[in-house]
C-alpha cells in the first residue's frame, strides 16, 4: 500500500501492466521523452523504450486505427488522447472499426483508450468535455470511469487485460486533487458499482469526479442518511446495484458532469423509471451540466458545472418531497 494521487495511480497501473505483459504498449502524442501532457507516462520512455512508449504524429484516427491493427495481431495497445475532446477526431475508427469487430467477425480488439476528461479548471469548450455517453451509445465498447486512486489503477489494469475495446475515462480534475491508498502490484477492480457511502434516506448515483462532489454535498445533510453509489463502470452498467440502491432509499438523485441530454445519467434515470418504478418515492432527480459547451471563464464555468451546492439543493428538495 502506498498513498498516491489519482494521477500517480493511473501511472502505476499502466507501469504495472507494462511490466507484467510485454504485449502492452502505449501510444499517443508527446508521451515519450516528454512523459505526456499530464505526465502520466513520466519515466516510461526510459524504462520501456521508444517502441513501447510510442510518440505518434498528431493524428487521432491513426492512433486508434493502428492500435486496432496492432491488437488483432497480438499487441495490447493503450492509446492516450491528449484530451478526451480530441477523440472526436478518432471517432469513426473507435466506433465503427474497434466497436463492431467482434460482433461482426468474432475478432476481439484488445485496445484501451485513455480519455483525460472533464472540466473545472478553465479548459474551455475543447478541453473540458465528458464524452462518455457517445461511447455508451456505440455498441461494442466498454466504458469505465473510476473516481478513486485505487479504482483508477485497478480498472486500468482490468481494462488492459480485457479482450474488448475499453474506453477509460480519467477525470483531469481528480489528477492531483484526490489522494488515497493504492495496493502494490497488479490487481483488478471489477467493472461494477461500488457503494461509496451507505445510506437509506436517499441515494446519489454518480461516477467519476462527481463522486467527490456528491460525497461532499451529502456529508452532513441535515442528518439525512445518504447513500452514494459510485457506478465506476458505465458499460457494462451495474443495473442490479442501481436498482438495489433504489430499493433501499426510494429516492434518487443522479449526478452527471456531462451535458444533460442523453447523458449517462439519462440512461440511469430511464432504467430506474422502468425497472425501479415501484420502489420510487419521489421524482428521479438529475443534476448535470446544461446543454452548452463548457465555457472558459471561471464564473461561467462554475455556473454550468454541477456544484456541491446544486447537489445539496437537489437532495434537500427531494428529501422534503
Amino acid at each position: 500500500m502506498a498513498s498516491m494521487t489519482y494521477l500517480q495511480a493511473i501511472s502505476d497501473g499502466l507501469r504495472t501492466a507494462m511490466r507484467d505483459d510485454e504485449r502492452v504498449m502505449v501510444m499517443g502524442q508527446d508521451i515519450g521523452a516528454f512523459g505526456g501532457a499530464f505526465k502520466v507516462t513520466d519515466g516510461f520512455f526510459e524504462e520501456f523504450g521508444a517502441d513501447r512508449v510510442m510518440d505518434t504524429p498528431l493524428a487521432e484516427s491513426a492512433i486508434i486505427g493502428t492500435a486496432v491493427g496492432a491488437a488483432v495481431v497480438g499487441l495490447r495497445p493503450v492509446c492516450e488522447m491528449q484530451f478526451s475532446d480530441f477523440i472526436a477526431c478518432g471517432f469513426d475508427q473507435l466506433v465503427n472499426v474497434a466497436g463492431k469487430m467482434l460482433y461482426r467477425q468474432g475478432l476481439p480488439v484488445n485496445i484501451t483508450v485513455r480519455l483525460p476528461s472533464g472540466g473545472g479548471f478553465s479548459g474551455g469548450p475543447f478541453h473540458s468535455q465528458n464524452p462518455e455517453a457517445w461511447f455508451m451509445h456505440a455498441p461494442g465498447l466498454k466504458v469505465v470511469a473510476p473516481s478513486t486512486p485505487e479504482d483508477a489503477k485497478g480498472m486500468l489494469i482490468a481494462g488492459i487485460r480485457d479482450p474488448n475495446p475499453v474506453v477509460y475515462m480519467e477525470h483531469k480534475h481528480l489528477y492531483r486533487r484526490v489522494k488515497g491508498e493504492v495496493p502494490d502490484g497488479a490487481y483488478e477492480t471489477p467493472f461494477s458499482a461500488r457503494v461509496a457511502r451507505e445510506g437509506s434516506d436517499l441515494a446519489v448515483i454518480t461516477y467519476g469526479a462527481m463522486v467527490h462532489t456528491a460525497l461532499q454535498a451529502t456529508e452532513d445533510l441535515d442528518g439525512a442518511s445518504v447513500m452514494v453509489l459510485d457506478l465506476r463502470s458505465l458499460v457494462p452498467l451495474d443495473e442490479e446495484a442501481i436498482l438495489a440502491a433504489v430499493r433501499t432509499c426510494s429516492k434518487v438523485v443522479i449526478v452527471d458532469e456531462a451535458n444533460q441530454t442523453c447523458a449517462a445519467g439519462a440512461q440511469v434515470a430511464a432504467l430506474i423509471a422502468e425497472r425501479g418504478f415501484e420502489d420510487l418515492d419521489g421524482p428521479v432527480t438529475r443534476v448535470a451540466t446544461p446543454d452548452v459547451p463548457i465555457p472558459f471563464s471561471p464564473p461561467l464555468e462554475q455556473a454550468v458545472l454541477p456544484s456541491v451546492d446544486r447537489v445539496k439543493e437537489a437532495c434537500r428538495e427531494l428529501l422534503a418531497y
Binding site: 484516427s61 491513426a62 493502428t66 491493427g69 476481439p108
Partner: protein, 355 residues
C-alpha cells in the same frame, strides 16, 4: 527518406518469369475464374431475391486482388476490400462460405451479421473491411507496425479505391507508414470511378504521385494484368520484409459493372466500357494459359462445377438463429484469445517462395 515517385508501369516480364511457375500462372487464371464465377452466381441469386440488401462485385478487376494476394505469404496479413473477392479465395476461404455470406446464412463467414464482402476470415489472416473507406488502411498500417516492433519478417497489405483516397484516413495512414517505415503495401485500385464520381472530381493529381511526398515509392501497374500486379506486389513485399518500408501500388483498371447491383452506370460513356472490355483480365490470362498448352475448357468446367456445388451447399444451409442476435457483443475474459491465424490458404504464396 525521400524517394522519388515513379509512374512508369512496372515492367514485369523478366521478374515474373523468374517467380511464377507454370502452375502459378494457371493458378492465377483459376482464381480469377473462380472470383468471376462466384460473383456471377451471387448476382443471379440476388436477382432471385436470395441475397438481401445490396450486391457489389469486382467484375473486370479480378487481376487486382488475385495478382496482389498471390504474392503474399501465409504469415502476412490482409484487409480485403469490396471488389477483391479473389483475395479471399487465395487465402483459402471456401466458395460455399462466401455464397452463404452473401445470402446472410448461418454458414457465412460472419454468420449473417454482416453482408457482402464485408468479411475477413481471421483464421486465414484477414480482417474484414468496414464500410467507411478507407479505414482499413490504418488497420493494415497497425498490423505492420506490430510486425516491425516485434522484428518479424512479415507484412500487411490492403486495397482501397480511387475515391477513398480523398478521405483523411488515407493521409493519416500514408504519413504514419512513411514516418515509421512500416512493412505495409497499399494497393490503390483505380477503377476510374467512385460510385458515379469520376476521378477528375476526386483529385487534381493522381494520388500515386503522392507517395514520394510521404517518403516511399509509388508506382502504377496495369491492373488488368494479374502477372503485373503480382510482380509489383512481390517486389513491394520484398522491400517491406527487407525493412525498406511501404509501397503504394496503383493498379489501373476499370469498374465494368455498376457501383452495386441497382446501378446501371449510365454515367459511364459506353466507349470507355468498350475500350476496357477489350482489356479483360481473364481473357488476357486465358490467352497466356492457352499459349502454355493448358486445357482451359477443362479448367473452366472444373471451376463451374465447384461453384455449382458451393451454391447447392450454401442454399441448403439454414439462416441464423434469431435467438443469437445479441450474442457475442463482448469477448469473455476467460475465453481463449483469438488472433488472426497463421494462414492456411493453398495459394498463400506462390510456388517460387516455397522453393
Amino acid at each position: 527518406m525521400h524517394t522519388s515517385t515513379s509512374r512508369a508501369p512496372a515492367d514485369a516480364s523478366a521478374d515474373v518469369a523468374e517467380h511464377l511457375t507454370h502452375d502459378d500462372r494457371v493458378g492465377l487464371l483459376r482464381y480469377m475464374l473462380l472470383m468471376r464465377g462466384i460473383e456471377e452466381k451471387a448476382m443471379s441469386l440476388y436477382r432471385q431475391g436470395k441475397v438481401p440488401g445490396s450486391f457489389y462485385d469486382g467484375y473486370g478487376q479480378e487481376a487486382v486482388s488475385v495478382g496482389a494476394a498471390f504474392a503474399m505469404a501465409p504469415e502476412d496479413r490482409l484487409c480485403i476490400l469490396h471488389r477483391d473477392l479473389g483475395a479471399h479465395l487465395i487465402r483459402g476461404v471456401e466458395p460455399a462460405a462466401i455464397l452463404s455470406q452473401y445470402m446472410g446464412r448461418a454458414a457465412g463467414i460472419t454468420g449473417g451479421r454482416d453482408g457482402n464482402v464485408h468479411f475477413g476470415d481471421h483464421r486465414v489472416g484477414c480482417v474484414g473491411m468496414v464500410s467507411m473507406l478507407p479505414d482499413m488502411m490504418l488497420v493494415a498500417a497497425g498490423m505492420a507496425m506490430a510486425f516491425k516492433l516485434r522484428g518479424e519478417a512479415r507484412c500487411a497489405l490492403t486495397w482501397f479505391g480511387d475515391g477513398s483516397t480523398s478521405r483523411g484516413d488515407f493521409h493519416e495512414a500514408m504519413n504514419w507508414a512513411g514516418v515509421q517505415g512500416l512493412p505495409v503495401i497499399f494497393v490503390l485500385e483505380n477503377n476510374q470511378y467512385a460510385y458515379s464520381t469520376p476521378t477528375r472530381a476526386q483529385f487534381a493529381v493522381n494520388p500515386v504521385e503522392r507517395a514520394g511526398a510521404y517518403g516511399f515509392p509509388g508506382l502504377s501497374v496495369d491492373g488488368n494484368d494479374p502477372e503485373a500486379v503480382f510482380e509489383a506486389t512481390r517486389a513491394a513485399r520484398e522491400r517491406a520484409i527487407a525493412g525498406d518500408g511501404p509501397t503504394l501500388i496503383e493498379a489501373v483498371t476499370m469498374r465494368m459493372h455498376g457501383h452495386a447491383a441497382h446501378d446501371d452506370m449510365s454515367y459511364v460513356p459506353s466507349e470507355q466500357v468498350e475500350e476496357w472490355r477489350a482489356k479483360d483480365p481473364i481473357d488476357r490470362q486465358r490467352a497466356r494459359a492457352v499459349a502454355l498448352g493448358v486445357d482451359v475448357e477443362a479448367l473452366q468446367g472444373e471451376v463451374r462445377a465447384r461453384i455449382d456445388a458451393a451454391a447447392d451447399e450454401a442454399l441448403s444451409g439454414p439462416m441464423p438463429d434469431p435467438a443469437t442476435a445479441t450474442d457475442r457483443l463482448f469477448h469473455p475474459r476467460d475465453a481463449e484469445e483469438i488472433l488472426l491465424g497463421d494462414g492456411r490458404g493453398p495459394w498463400s504464396g506462390f510456388a517460387a517462395r516455397a522453393a
